[in-house]
């Protein structure tokens, strides 16, 4: 599944870039995530509790940052699995400075497998969009203060 879109973040590019690399901020913005455990340089273990439409539960996996090119772009690689399925995805984030705000463009490809993929195709696109929207809403708040 291809995902792409863009959000405006109320912070200059350099600050937005730094915040997007910060595990504390990332954990705060990812829905249902308490914290990220650093396992290596730019690599973190995550535990995420997501329940949407009474589906879901606990997911565990890894977040990796790569191809860092501050303050313009980096790659975010996410892998996770739970009882209802698994996902593996890679996204390129491009930051474009617009004075005091930054336009963050994301473009990626996500593979979803397991029960949720075989019976929930209809739900994947809208649900993915909602999770990304929630992330950026929280991130915008974090970037402000």
């Amino acid at each position: 599944m291809k995902i792409n879109g863009s959000y405006s973040v109320p912070a200059p590019a350099q600050r937005a870039y730094t915040l997007l690399q910060d595990p504390v901020i990332l954990a705060k913005c990812m829905p249902g995530t308490d914290h990220l455990d650093r396992v290596a340089e730019n690599e973190y273990d995550m535990k995420m509790k997501v329940i949407i439409a009474s589906m879901g539960g606990l997911f565990s996996g890894k977040v990796r940052l790569a191809d860092q090119n501050p303050p313009d772009s980096f790659k975010l690689i996410v892998e996770g699995s739970g009882k209802i399925g698994f996902l593996k995805g890679e996204g390129l984030l491009n930051l474009m400075a617009q004075g005091e705000t930054t336009e963050v463009k994301y473009e990626g490809d996500v593979q979803v497998g397991g029960t949720i993929a075989s019976v929930g195709q209809r739900l994947l696109d809208t649900t993915a969009k909602m999770i990304i929207k929630k992330f950026f809403q929280k991130f915008a708040e974090a970037a402000k203060g």
Binding site: A53, K83, G120, R122, T126, K129, M130, K133
Partner: protein, 285 residues
């Protein structure tokens, strides 16, 4: 598959149900047309189900000072076949008649459907066009929300933990109002690829009021305010409608899945909005 073990309670009144829902792992069962399949696939595994099916005080259709009050556990079939709903709020009866199949309509309830907030469900298009209200209740009290505030996002409503839907409130329609719900259905599931509900009032040969609710097109149902504005004040000719529906998806990020791409869905929203408006205009007097 068989669902994971769970506790089951079927309280006989609302108070008892609300106190059982104090347990944060309890989940409301209100018909079960979405929840039970998810449990059988083990996509959902609640620890306890609180079945509202035996609570008589939640199953009613009442006319009351210009509105219809519909209890949360009223089934789609009860709504579809109720003489009161058919004559006083025909749009809702029409929408109910389009849901799933007869078995689903016999078991599924209006409260269960809107609490699930599936972005492709049928009711929301009509509820938005009707500017309906949803009444919620918890152990401490109750509150009433406009439907636009109730549907927060995909599968997400304003319901708080421990809170349940008590009733849905829709206006009693003036006899001269014309309404229609038109749906492009996904044949296997019966869900809407897009569904459009329209309400029209005429005055002196012109369209005096328009309400358009859309489901299936984006992550949440919505009122297409720009379409409404473009139609109001016109004579409601085919050409007026064609121009008005052009921007139905303006500012939205339309859904895309294996059944319909975003571009196709958008075009189908225009087509079904045209049909809904055309029929509603012809029914208005």
């Amino acid at each position: 598959m068989i669902a994971q073990n769970f506790d089951y309670a079927a309280p006989g009144n609302l108070q008892e149900a609300l106190s059982l829902l104090g347990n944060e792992n309890a989940k409301v069962l209100a018909g079960g047309m979405s929840l039970i399949p998810l449990m059988k696939l083990r996509l959902a595994s609640p620890e306890q189900l609180v079945d509202l099916g035996r609570i008589k005080e939640l199953n009613y259709i009442k006319e009351d000072a210009g509105v219809l009050r519909i209890g949360a556990t009223t089934t789609h079939f009860q709504i579809e076949s109720s003489p009161v709903v058919r004559s006083r709020c025909p749009l809702l009866a029409e929408a109910a008649s389009y849901i799933g199949d007869l078995q689903v309509r016999n078991m599924g309830t209006i409260g269960g459907s809107i609490a699930h907030a599936d972005p492709a469900a049928d009711y929301p298009a009509s509820l938005f066009a009707l500017e309906a209200k949803v009444s919620l209740v918890n152990a401490k009290g109750k509150r009433e929300l406009p439907v636009a505030d109730f549907f927060v996002d995909t599968f997400t409503t304003a319901l708080e933990p421990g809170e349940i839907i008590r009733e849905v409130i829709v206006p009693v329609e003036e006899q001269s109002t014309g309404t229609s719900y038109q749906k492009m259905l996904q044949p296997a599931s019966g869900f809407a690829i897009v569904g459009v509900a329209a309400r029209i009032r005429k005055s002196g040969g012109k369209i005096a009021m328009t309400r358009v609710g859309v489901t299936g097109l984006s992550g949440t149902p919505y009122r297409a305010a720009n379409v409404e504005k473009a139609i109001e004040g016109t004579a409601g000719t085919a050409d007026d409608i064609r121009k008005a529906v052009a921007d139905i998806a303006k500012g939205l990020d339309p859904n895309s899945d294996l059944h319909a791409s975003a571009a196709y869905r958008t075009q189908m929203a225009r087509v079904y909005a045209t049909r809904a408006l055309t029929v509603a205009i012809s029914r208005a007097s």
